[in-house]
């Protein structure tokens, strides 16, 4: 009898103990998908802090770096979409899919959020907003592309910095490769990745030379201006590191001193200090050269680190609570001071201690950096322009044929989409390549 009483008491104790568990299970879990890996440690830290301080909401962050938009849409179709996603998606597609929520009603009611993030002054049509609807608000800004260079290899070949014109840049790459042939292991002047290589150097050199693939003044695509950059690309590839591997592999090669010149934006500040720390030589950061040394166009910079709320989210108030936390003063201050991004609002810029930003300070915005108006999203059949142009550089296609193909395909698809009413034609009659977002935007239906 005594044993039985003991057993009953134990069972009751176990039941009582277990009854405490649902307190955890009652938390509303907000799932956030990000495609940023460079800030994973910091994001985990602030998310863990939030989860510890909140009894009602728990953030579950999932990092997905590959095929981000597709994965989201597939999950959305399958009913397993996250509640919040990072901004690296094509906004028009997400809106047409009715997969994302207009955040303007939440923003309008939240004065603290407005003070920190200044959302109404950071509306970029087609990029984070469509009409009055705001789908995400940037927390910061990624700089335009810079040239990161190995100072030791440059100095060994008699150079002290990056020249301002493309022909000089090519000569420098050639000279460093020639000199590097005697090194063991062999070193090279320049390296390219297999992941969007055109975008990471030559396209940006074209931008600052006043060449852009969308002719805003006439509302059509025009790739003709890229010809000299494709010819220059052929010369650079001929003396480049012989492999074009994934971007992380090539970063590792740069950090190991295999080549001297590498092109990428401000995320490299963190990459070369923590992900692939450069320990054996000093590395510098320089603006990309232009065709003739003169700056004739703005360098594209990208507002980033925004959060979109999915329309399938069942706990929208909780999701908004998470977004406003991730874009709160404390979190953003730590983010910028950690060197993960550049501040986009004057408020955040005024409160951060810039001495803590490390190498990010080298990527501070140039006076000719600007956000370009979002080019209309079109339903294109076949390869995108970056692939076609890089194939021409690699010699897999003739340069003139590649340009003609792009002009034809892009404009055919654009005309058809406009005629069917899926997009409107973007025209900025007073477009100025040095101030791309300053012109008067008009939308035409023909």
């Amino acid at each position: 009898m005594r044993k039985l009483s003991m057993l009953v008491a134990l069972v009751m104790l176990a039941v009582l103990a277990l009854s405490a568990v649902p307190a955890l299970a009652d938390k509303t879990v907000i799932t956030y998908w990000s495609n940023d890996r460079h800030d994973e440690a910091y994001m985990n830290e602030v998310i863990n802090k939030f989860n510890a301080e909140h009894d009602d909401i728990e953030i579950n962050m999932v990092i997905m770096t590959d095929d981000f938009e597709n994965s989201i849409l597939l999950a959305y179709d399958g009913g397993t979409a996250p509640d919040i996603i990072g901004q690296s998606v094509t906004l028009k597609n997400m809106v047409d899919y009715e997969a994302v929520v207009d955040l303007a009603p939440y923003i309008e009611k939240d004065e603290e959020y407005q003070k920190v993030n200044d959302p109404f002054n950071h509306k970029y049509e087609g990029l984070n907003a469509i009409g009055d609807a705001i789908y995400w608000v940037p927390s910061g800004m990624r700089s335009g592309v810079r040239i990161e260079y190995n100072k030791a290899l440059l100095e060994a070949s008699g150079f002290s910095g990056i020249p301002s014109s493309l022909p000089e840049y090519i000569e420098m790459a050639k000279k460093i490769s020639e000199d590097g042939a005697a090194n063991t292991p062999q070193t090279y002047g320049i390296g390219f990745t297999s992941s969007s290589p055109f975008e990471r150097q030559l396209e940006m050199m074209a931008q600052v030379s006043g060449v852009f693939y969308y002719d805003y003044a006439n509302g059509k695509f025009d790739f003709t201006g890229y010809k000299p950059f494709l010819e220059a690309g052929r010369e650079l590839v001929a003396v480049a590191y012989p492999d074009q591997q994934g971007v992380d592999n090539m970063r590792a090669q740069f950090a190991a001193g295999s080549f001297a010149l590498w092109g990428n934006a401000s995320q490299e500040a963190g990459v070369f200090t923590s992900q692939f720390p450069v320990n054996d030589f000093e590395w510098g950061v320089s603006p990309v050269p232009s065709l003739d040394g003169e700056i004739k166009g703005a360098l594209q910079t990208n507002p980033n680190k925004g959060y979109l709320m999915m329309s399938s989210c069942k706990n929208r108030d909780a999701a908004w609570e998470v977004i406003r936390y991730l874009q709160s003063e404390d979190v953003l201050k730590g983010y910028m001071e950690g060197g993960y991004d550049l501040p986009i609002t004057s408020y955040i810029d005024s409160i951060i201690d810039k001495s803590k930003m490390g190498r990010m300070a080298d990527f501070s915005l140039l006076d000719y950096e600007s956000v370009y108006p979002a080019v209309p999203t079109i339903n294109l059949i076949g390869d995108d322009y970056r692939t076609v142009l890089w194939n021409a550089i690699m010699g897999y296609a003739e340069i003139d044929d590649a340009i003609a193909d792009l002009n034809t395909r892009y404009n055919q698809a654009y005309d058809e989409d406009v005629s069917l009413g899926f997009v409107q034609r973007l025209v900025i009659a007073d477009y100025d390549p040095l101030h791309p977002s300053a012109g008067t935007v008009t939308w035409e239906t023909k």
């Binding site: 095929d67 938009e69 597709n70 849409l73 597609n93 047409d96 899919y97 292991p185 297999s194 590191y241 012989p242 492999d243 074009q244 591997q245 592999n249 090669q253 295999s258 999203t377 079109i378 339903n379 294109l380 059949i381 076949g382 390869d383 995108d384 970056r386 692939t387 076609v388 194939n391 690699m394 897999y396 296609a397 069917l420 899926f422």
Partner: protein, 322 residues
């Protein structure tokens, strides 16, 4: 006069034959049970195979990027685009080249290894396991492994070739259009031959030992035994293996996607990789092209089907000759 006994069961009767309705016939032939047993696989066939095929088939005349309100009927445009799509027809050519080269190497290699490992030598079970192991590794992992092996500057293969003095300059296994196909074939043969080898080993175990003993008594040497006994008696297995290898080779794309993503340029852009990238809007495609991709899937299925039919006809003719 005694009445002749007539077995009532055999006696003619004026009664009309018992009507056999469909229900009874089905019951008597065991049809209900068969259909019940077949039903799970039929349901899965319909849900997982036929329905998706019909779903995608209806888009072949549409421009559809996966966004519900973006569907638009474009008549024959997808078909005319396909007829002039040099990249697609190029990918068909690459697929035939890849399949042919793969088959040339993988079948003889699998057969030779099966014969060697069937000799009941010491350690043959171990090697059977080792050679089969790549088959259980996922294709994308195989692709990743070989990116490290074939890397130009810091690759394992170039390192070995250089250290033994076979090359002085690194070979661009994945960047040089003249050698990249060899790299892809090496990877796919490595990944697949263990599977076919196992089929052959299984086929050989069913050949009676008496036949080999007779041939030995008749004085046949190893080569004669292989060509006169092993190979003819393996013919049914060989036919199946060849068919699997052909269809498999034509449908390969996962490991190639990881290793070269169809490059450099379009040198290893096989048919199904091109279609995958179109439908999912990945790789170099700016937008998802589900309509156009659906049409190309259909054409690709016809191509693979035609190759299989041709193979079956050839195999049948060979049977008649042999």
């Amino acid at each position: 006069m005694a009445k002749e006994y007539v077995n009532p069961q055999l006696a003619p009767t004026n009664r009309p034959p018992r009507p056999v309705n469909k229900k009874m016939r089905l019951k008597e032939s065991g049809g209900v049970a068969s259909w019940l047993m077949l039903s799970p696989s039929l349901v899965f066939l319909c849900v997982c195979s036929i329905y998706p095929f019909i779903w995608i088939f209806r888009y072949i005349l549409y421009n559809y990027d996966g966004i519900p309100n973006h569907t638009r009927f474009t008549g024959m445009r997808n078909i005319t685009t396909m007829l002039s799509d040099a990249k697609f027809w190029g990918s068909v050519g690459v697929t035939f080249e890849y399949a042919l080269l793969k088959l040339i190497f993988i079948i003889p290699l699998a057969l030779i290894m099966a014969v060697l490992l069937n000799q009941k030598l010491k350690g043959s079970s171990f090697f059977r396991g080792v050679f089969f192991m790549p088959t259980v590794i996922s294709s994308s992992i195989s692709g990743m492994i070989f990116t490290f092996i074939f890397a130009t500057g810091n690759g394992i293969l170039n390192g070995i070739l250089k250290s033994i003095g076979l090359i002085s300059q690194p070979v661009g296994w994945l960047t040089d259009t003249s050698v990249v196909m060899a790299a892809v074939i090496i990877m796919s043969v490595w990944a697949g031959f263990g599977n076919y080898m196992l089929y052959f080993v299984t086929g050989m175990t069913s050949i009676s030992e008496d036949v080999y003993e007779s041939s030995r008594i008749d004085g046949a040497n190893g080569v004669q035994t292989f060509f006169r006994i092993t190979l003819p008696m393996l013919a049914p297995v060989l036919k199946v293996v060849l068919m699997l290898a052909i269809t498999g080779a034509f449908k390969d794309y996962e490991a190639i996607m990881v290793l070269t993503n169809g490059g450099p340029g379009t040198r290893t852009n096989v048919m199904f990789l091109y279609i995958y990238n179109l439908i999912f809007g990945t790789g170099s495609n700016a937008t998802r092209q589900i309509g156009y991709g659906a049409l190309l899937s259909l054409v690709a299925a016809v191509i693979v089907g035609a190759v299989t039919i041709v193979y079956n006809l050839v195999a049948k003719k060979l049977d008649d000759v042999v």
